[in-house]
């Protein structure tokens, strides 16, 4: 299995960032709107949402969805 430098870097970074307990994509989806609301209100991440924050750091798909959600909510606030 031949990997490029960027791929190896991505693999070791992901491995090193892994925590024994992580939530999956479904749990992230259930809580991501609450996480986004706190972000938009300028509030610190609550203990209950730490696992969401961590998941968003590890899962590019959920991260992409979170950023799109944040953009939509920002748009709603500006109208």
């Amino acid at each position: 299995m031949a990997l490029k430098l960027a791929e190896v870097r991505s693999l070791v970074r992901a491995a090193l960032a892994t925590r024994p307990v992580e939530i999956g994509c479904d749990d992230c989806l259930a809580q991501v709107a609450a996480y986004a609301e706190r972000e938009l209100a300028g509030l610190p991440v609550s203990e209950a949402l730490r696992l969401v924050e961590q998941h968003l750091g590890n899962c590019p798909e959920c991260r992409e969805e979170y950023e799109a959600l944040l953009a939509a909510l920002r748009g709603a606030m500006q109208r």
Binding site: L11, V12, A68
Partner: protein
């Protein structure tokens, strides 16, 4: 539905301000959304239409800059509305109802868009080069110093050891496909599973890789240094 008690007045005030700014949320309470969507009849149909319209509006903003999404936004909102209706009991009140529904709509939309980009790519073909080793392809002009090359060789050997001794064939395939950019929805579809189960499979694989790196006795900084450009 009662929101969890917020612990300090400032938090409550800022969250309330935020929700007031979101016009749709200010007009219909979460309790009313749930009540209207659950009771059959004309009111429920009107609520479905309103929810669909809100999701369309949110998706137009959230997916701006993705030309492939524009023609599909109405379909995404339709599918998301059905999914929201099927999962009303899972709404816990941690956020506003509309924002929770919008998060579901964004997942529906982006999942479909990702799959459309990748559905012609075969997972097996993409990962056909899985053999009992991990090698690094680095252009000659980027040759590392001898110290870095030695560290890389040591780490790659450790990764290879874990990949081909500790991981299952599905975990190896998942890791390889993710590194090559295939989205989890498509990997899951071709493996006959779902994204949530796939994440857990990947989590277990990453933990094993982490332990393999730890056995080398190197710090995280030393590992990352080895693969700096």
């Amino acid at each position: 539905m009662t929101r969890p008690r917020l612990t300090w007045v400032g938090t409550f005030s800022r969250m309330a301000d935020l929700r007031r700014k979101m016009d749709s949320v200010a007009q219909v309470s979460d309790e009313d959304w749930l009540r209207l969507l659950r009771v059959p009849g004309e009111q429920a149909q009107a609520a479905h239409r309103e929810l669909h319209a809100l999701l369309v509006r949110g998706l137009r903003i959230g997916l701006a800059g993705r030309p492939s999404a524009e023609a599909l936004i109405d379909d995404f909102a339709q599918e998301a509305t059905l999914r929201v209706l099927a999962h009303l009991d899972e709404f816990r009140g941690d956020s506003s109802f509309v924002n929770w529904a919008l998060a579901i709509a964004v997942r529906v939309a982006l999942s479909e868009l990702r799959r459309a980009r990748w559905h012609d790519v075969s997972l097996d073909a993409l990962t056909s080069d899985l053999r009992a080793e991990v090698t690094l392809h680095v252009p000659t002009k980027e040759a590392p110093t001898p110290e870095r090359a030695a560290a890389r060789a040591q780490i790659l050997a450790a990764l290879g050891q874990v990949m081909f001794s500790d991981l299952t064939a599905r975990q190896r395939q998942l890791i390889a496909a993710e590194l090559r950019g295939m989205p989890q929805e498509e990997i899951a579809a071709q493996m006959g599973t779902n994204r949530n189960a796939l994440y857990k499979l990947g989590h277990d694989a990453r933990l094993k890789l982490q332990r393999g790196l730890e056995r080398l006795g190197l710090s995280a900084d030393q590992v990352m240094w080895a693969f700096d450009e």
